[in-house]
């Protein structure tokens, strides 16, 4: 039986309430941190655990926190990325619905380590009910003095606010999120400067994903060694694999990092829906390049997927069956990115719009010879040519489909 770091309370009655949370050792780690530990000690433990970001890029959280300047007379902020816009991803919703206090505890400990007194949870606008649940949890925690002024009487202050987005995938990108939180259009910023030095309202800012922060209480309570014993040494812990699409049992599976993709699909998620034949899988949210049947014998960790020229990303696994046309898949992908490009950078704005037009034309039966080459060329011209990684996020899956399913795509084009 695998150890559960994040889903321990899932399924318990009223797991979202502070009473149930406290009954299961909840806020014990907060007590330990605030009463006994120095901020530097917390930081060192998270660094030792090599906790990699769960939002998509996999950057080690401890290192990121370490970038924040310590002796500075500006406020510092924590932004919790709960935008969850990557298609195929629904894990953060599970954490916030089933165990909101786990996230709050992660936020408290991270803020303590970095010296932050204000945190914003930026949650996608559609999750109104989830936002209400988080707000309720914040109230509960404040009533017990785990939040607010002078937490547990030890002089540390922290306020957490829930901030709802309003329907824009790009606002999950960290600098667009900052712009959006400041009350502007969500146009990504140029980096550097990085948010750790100049972030929200011009102040040093840490941005972390919901799942990333929810791992922090376990790491501090049990030590970095115990964390890396789940998963891999350099990529420790578990992931919430969100499996959807043509499988028998779609859902969230908390499994050690490095679990085989084949097992995730065929063992945990119950195999193909209605016995259909497997065709392809998108392993880490829509931006992750598609893998075919002979590529799924792979361990789900950051490095293995990079080696396979794909991406663990948000660990949203979308399973595609044989009866699905890859042109339809490509059409959905192209529609999404052309709709969600913020329009700031020409290659992404124009490139995605053209790709969409060509794919839709092919789907109408009006494809021309050379169309697939053109799509491929347009996608290639977006790679690494934009301010933020949305250009890449669109180009990578489109390139992979045009390369791996070229024959099938060509077959939709008459001569």
């Amino acid at each position: 039986m695998e150890e559960k770091i994040l889903t321990k309370l899932f399924g318990l009655k009223d797991s979202h309430t502070i009473d149930v949370y406290l009954k299961h050792d909840g806020y014990k780690t907060t007590r330990k941190v605030i009463m006994e530990m120095k901020p530097g000690e917390v930081l060192e433990e998270v660094k030792a655990a090599n906790l990699r970001g769960r939002g998509g890029a996999g950057f080690p959280a401890g290192v990121k926190w370490g970038f924040v300047p310590q002796n500075i007379d500006k406020p510092k902020y924590l932004c919790v990325n709960a935008d969850e816009g990557e298609p195929g991803t629904f894990k953060d919703r599970y954490i916030m619905n089933h165990d909101p206090h786990l996230l709050l505890e992660g936020i408290i400990i991270a803020s303590y380590a970095v010296g932050i007194h204000k945190a914003y949870i930026y949650i996608r606008g559609e999750y109104e009910n989830v936002a209400l649940r988080m707000e309720k949890a914040i109230e509960e925690a404040a009533a017990r003095r785990y939040l607010g002024k002078n937490i547990l009487g030890k002089g540390f202050d922290l306020d957490i606010y829930v901030h709802r987005g309003a329907g824009a995938y790009i606002c999950g990108e960290e600098t667009a999120l900052l712009e959006s939180l400041e009350g502007k259009r969500g146009n990504p910023r140029m980096k550097p400067p990085f948010p750790a030095s100049i972030g929200l309202f011009g102040c040093p800012t840490v941005i972390n994903n919901v799942e990333t922060l929810s791992n922090v209480p376990f790491i501090i309570q049990n030590g970095a060694g115990k964390f890396t014993r789940n998963g891999l040494l350099k990529d420790g812990g578990t992931r919430l694999f969100g499996v959807s699409g043509m499988v028998e049992k779609p859902g969230i599976y908390e499994l050690p990092i490095g679990t085989s993709l084949k097992d995730i699909i065929f063992k945990y998620a119950g195999g193909m829906k209605k016995g259909k034949k497997f065709k392809a899988v998108i392993p880490g949210g829509m931006s992750a390049p598609v893998l075919t049947a002979d590529e799924i014998d792979i361990n789900m960790d950051f490095d293995s997927l990079v080696e396979a020229k794909s991406m663990l990303g948000s660990a949203g696994v979308i399973v595609i069956d044989e009866e699905t046309s890859m042109l339809d898949v490509l059409k959905t992908i192209a529609k999404f990115y052309s709709h969600e490009s913020c329009g700031q950078c020409t290659p992404c704005r124009i490139g995605n719009a053209w790709i969409r037009k060509i794919v839709e034309r092919i789907a109408e039966g009006k494809g021309k010879p050379g169309d697939i080459d053109n799509i491929h060329r347009l996608a290639k011209n977006m790679l690494q040519k934009t301010l933020c990684p949305l250009g890449d996020a669109a180009a990578m899956p489109i390139l992979a489909i045009t390369e791996k399913f070229r024959k099938e795509l060509e077959s939709y084009i008459g001569n």
Partner: protein, 157 residues
Amino acid sequence: MNPEYSDIRKKKIDELISGYPERRAAILPVLHITQKEFGQITSAEEKLVAELLDIKPIEVHEVVTFYSMFNQKKVGKYHIQICSNLTCTLLEAGNLLEYLQNKLGIKPGETTNDEKFTLSTVECLGACEEAPVMMVNFDYHGHLDKKKIDKLLDNLK
């Protein structure tokens, strides 16, 4: 007549604004409340929000037009938003969209004559494990099929 907030919402707005070091940072939460109050965000509401946040109406308009959740024209009592992203399409959301169009006699972006229903398509709602999914106002409905849609709509008064 100029739009005005109810007292409760006005209080909520003041409370919200106090959570940020700059007033304008509260714009998205304030716009959500504004849409709840007035049902839509047209130039009259934009002006109201601008005054509240000490910014220009055009700055509010810039924000309203960037985000997909703000209705710039009136929507029906029930706003049906069906997901048209990948997992949902794999599981036949396309057919269900067609079914909804025929049932309601409107296309995406349109509202029924009695102003009861507005139909839209949306990108991934973050509930793919329950695909196909749609939202009716802010309630999620998953594992949809035609029968379930019939029952759901019949129960909306």
